[in-house]
Amino acid sequence: MSGDDVIEGRAWTLGHDIDTDLIIAGSYLTIRDIDEQAKHTLEVPLPDFAEEVEPGDVIVAGRNFGAGSSREQAPRLIKHLGVGAVVAAGFARIYFRNSVNLGLPALESREAFEEVEQGDEIRIELEEGLIHDETQGTTYQAAAYPDFLMGIIKAGGAIPYYKERVGTEG
């Protein structure tokens, strides 16, 4: 996944305010086996998601995606299940940072949220921030990242990014 500039898969659509309790509920947080834990990802709003999601699929959601708790398990499990990127009308702050740190692209586009439909074939060009809905023949431009955040995503996340730099930084 890391270093790949193109993400391709089906869209899974969600509404506004998908908080991190909906992404992974508190009672599952102490599960230590990530495969076991991942089975509960988004189980309230999308009961079939964990079973049916395929590598490269894209979540397309409304405002305030990832609101609430700082639990990093939220983007981690989404990535673990193979999701290639999350597109949303807006992201909650801590969720956005966590997603970038784990190398899971989080792309902001209100228009994409408004128009993309469940199951549409999506192709994302990550470097350019272009979201193509191949089913509908539309293209959306995601909000740009500052360069260093793009650098973290392309390195595969904060761990590889900082591992390279720690010891050489001032």
């Binding site: 305010d17 908080d19 309790d21 909906l22 509920a25 508190g26 009672s27 947080l29 102490t30 599960i31 230590r32 309230v44 405002r63 305030n64 609101a67 609430g68 708790s69 700082s70 639990r71 990093e72 398990q73 807006g90 909650a92 702050r93 801590i94 940072r97 966590n98 740190n101 784990l102 500052p146 260093f148 996340g157 904060a158 761990i159 900082y162 591992k163 720690v166 010891g167 930084e169």
Partner: protein
Amino acid sequence: MGKTVSEKMLSTASGEDAYAGDFVEAEVDWAMVHEGLGMGVADAYEEIRPDQPPVIKDKIVSVLDHWAPPPNENAAEIHEDVKRFVDKYDIPNFYDIRGGICHQVLLEHHVRPGEIVVGTDSHTTTVGSLGAFGTGFGNTDMAAVFARGKSWFKVPETIRWDLTGELDDWVYGKDVILKIMNELSADGATYKAVEYRGDGIHAMSMDSRATLANMTVDMGGKAGLVEVDDRTMDYLDSRGRDAKEIVHPDEDADYLERHELDVSDLEPQVAEPPSPDTGVPVSDHEGRPVTQCFIGSCTNARKEDLLAVKEIVQGSQVPDDVRLIVVPSSVELWKWASHEGIWDAVMDAGGTVGNSTCGPCIAASLGVLGPNDVCLSSANRNYQGRMGSKEAEIYLANPAVVAASAVTGEITDPRNLEGSDDLVGRVGTTGRAVA
């Protein structure tokens, strides 16, 4: 151009002349971790910088609070992993399960005005009640802070609330923040700092200020900065601490939005599921039956809150089909409440007292909800499934409302308890205990 509190604090911490929108690298004064240390921080740190002590090990505050003591084997393993890291690097500020909830530990023992605080918990904004810039981080971000002693921040724009007036009896900081959240909405402060200032703050207790700062994150806020005044300094004095720096905004600071609120006319508020930004006057929800009344969490289980609970429940009996569960914000507060007779009052009323832990707020322990539960909670979140069953309903309110509702079995305005047939007139017109 003048600066907001956040612009000043992040400028100082980074050595840059920073304004909203700039990215800076800021040194942190405190790095708080809870069970997150054993759920990802330690592993990520060892990948970034193996076998070397964290560069800020003296600034780490390590607390076990979310699943404390461990309510299941997985949590016990997590606690073991935390202790392994703490022992390996000899981390001095390790509280284990003996401090209580992490944010209260920070308020009681560590944070000073002017400091930059990061924590592996979204409610790290709570330290804003002491004029510190506190914000939540995930595990990997925290590992990078352990390795570097600093982190990147985007300097936020600021929304400023100028408060006037004085809170009525049985009305608290909780009601102020629920009202503000209804106006701004659940993402109305996303990426922004919120400043709370004015005479309305000066008249407010430190406990109520803590609630304001705490729930700032629940409208998306990055930091909740409460004005530092004499009351703040008296509190710090009582804890044997001083200020690092008292930071006030410049007269000509550039705010994204400015709002005013006279808190004198504010009524107790209740937020309905599934979002905390739905606060309305309690009268809109009065009469709704409840099955669990929970006073606890980092939001509202401090002295002001626990005293209200005692005043309201003492001498009464909680109905058979209601669970009243009280969990204080810290171990120190647990002991204080015991000496004040608060636990006697709760137990005699048929309630339950728990050790200081997050517990019910995150469905960890001490009162997980079943499918038919309707819970009135003094905590901060009422998302679907938050406290247990996804079919349970969670309403949010201040501790006086929760306590009053525990006594009647339905959502109750505590101001309406006076002269109620169920109580023996112990709550007088001032809302304070008459005996």
